[in-house]
Amino acid sequence: MQVNDNKEFQPLIVAFCCNWCSYAGADLSGTNRLNYPTNVKIIRVPCSCRVNPMFILRAFQKGADGVILCGCHPGDCHYTSGNYFTRRRMTLLFSMLDFLGIERDRTRVEWVSAAEGAKFAATMNEFTEAVKKLGPNRRLEDLRCRKQ
């Protein structure tokens, strides 16, 4: 694990990982002693399509600076087609968040299989770097609640 340098901005990254591929991929990167940043908080879901758009918004609301969703490669979903639905939903949702002014580099979908420990680590490193460059997320705040 990397030791965080306190002076530098450290983004909070939430990674939703499906149980059957990506979570196992994360495990593998651990057993292979590959490094990925401690900024990444993994939430395990049964299938990538379990992720309701509300989960993503909640993650941002609770302070995430970036949200990434990982699932089995298209065609390999444990439940046959879950990730195909995920793909459409997240494409539209991320496009909407972009439309509302959340920078598009704060959201991502990545397909990571159980054998791709190295890809998992590389993806997380790269994503964390990208979010770090953007700085803290601007909240979808209500102007009436803004502290003067």
Binding site: P53, M54, L57, Q61, P74, G75, S81, Y84, F85, R87, R88, R89, M90, T91, L92, L93, F94, S95, M96, L97, D98, F99, L100, G101, I102, E103, R104, D105, T107, R108, V109, R138, R139, L140, E141, D142, L143, R144, C145, R146
Partner: protein
């Protein structure tokens, strides 16, 4: 037109085809036209109104009305028939229990646009060859008809009825609409500009829920926003995120189901351009998954309940457009 509609309704009531009629009647002011149910010829003669302010889409009332005893007659404008199709497709109404009389669409008038000219105390508005003659407590005013047209009518997508049992008047065609222009304008802004635009718009919301209540796609018996355990049920904006959540989630729930009837924006007391959210989804769906208009038919599969193995990846959002 009002005359012909009342006669049609009376005839269908008299011969027993239908047992009640969904139409409109006048509210407190001359321009307040609200949906109403009529059961007798007398009621129709007394209260039934159809004029330039009759813009409410009554298709959602069929969710309840079509499940009652006896057939219900409903007058639908072209845009409203899309909503009925969508409700039929989602098994929310009993189409066999509905008798649809298609009526011509707008353009309808927006009283707010008249008031915005500083005209107050309005007692009646007449369309005289596309000049509005407005009677007020302080005398008569005039303004051009087209300056007072409802936004949703100004970007009408279709004058064609997609479902009906009978028509009064001629049927029209689907139109080349300019409805995505504003969405495009926003897309071409920087993300900071878009952020600022939506901050100021969404921060006006008072969570009256009118947009959800009027929406013909929002017919869930248990809406997530009525669930006190969700943390986002109806309440005053106490937290800085709730209204945003509400709008994004509601728009997402109706993605691929929104018939673009424009009712949500029309009823919003805070004039938030909600249709821009829905149209953004429609525009994305059209460009990514093929042209699709919810309500155009009752059989096609909705884009979010469908997929193909070679759909684009979510990264397409990152690859296109300006920052």
């Amino acid at each position: 037109m009002q005359e012909a509609m009342i006669n049609k309704a009376k005839q269908l009531l008299a011969d027993g085809t239908v047992s009640r009629v969904i139409g409109w009647k006048r509210g407190e002011f001359a321009y307040d036209i609200t949906p109403a149910v009529f059961e007798t010829a007398e009621e129709l003669e007394k209260d039934f109104v159809f004029d330039d302010f009759t813009s409410a889409n009554v298709s959602k009332y069929l969710v309840k009305e079509s499940k009652k005893e006896g057939k219900v007659l409903v007058f639908l404008k072209p845009c409203d028939t899309y909503s009925l199709n969508q409700l039929t497709k989602e098994h929310r109404v009993d189409r066999d229990n509905i008798y649809v009389v298609g009526i011509p669409g707008g353009p309808k008038l927006d009283i707010e646009k008249i008031k915005a000219k500083g005209i107050t105390g309005i007692t009646s508005v007449k369309n005289d060859n596309f000049t509005l003659k407005i009677e007020t407590l302080y005398g008569e005013e005039t303004m051009p008809f087209y300056e007072a047209v409802l936004d949703k009518c100004a970007s009408c997508k279709s004058k064609k009825h997609v479902t009906y049992d009978e028509l009064i008047g001629e049927d029209g065609d689907t139109l080349e609409s300019n409805r995505f222009d504003m969405v495009e304008q926003l897309e071409n802004m920087t993300s900071q500009e878009r952020y600022d635009f939506w901050r100021s718009e969404l921060s006006k919301c008072i969570r009256c829920n009118a947009c959800r209540n009027v929406c013909p796609a929002c017919t869930c018996e248990n809406c997530v926003f009525d669930n006190p355990a969700s943390g986002i049920d109806n309440k005053a904006p106490a937290d800085s995120f709730e209204e945003n959540m509400f709008h994004i989630i509601r728009a997402f729930h109706v993605a691929g189901r929104c018939t673009d009837c424009g009712e949500c924006s029309r009823v919003c007391p805070q004039h938030i351009p909600l249709h821009l959210l829905n149209r953004k989804f429609i525009k994305d769906i059209n460009s990514l998954y093929g042209e699709y208009q919810a309500g155009a038919d009752t059989t096609s599969r909705a884009p979010l309940t469908d997929y193909t193995a070679d759909d684009c990846e979510a990264s397409i959002v990152h690859e296109r457009g300006v920052e």
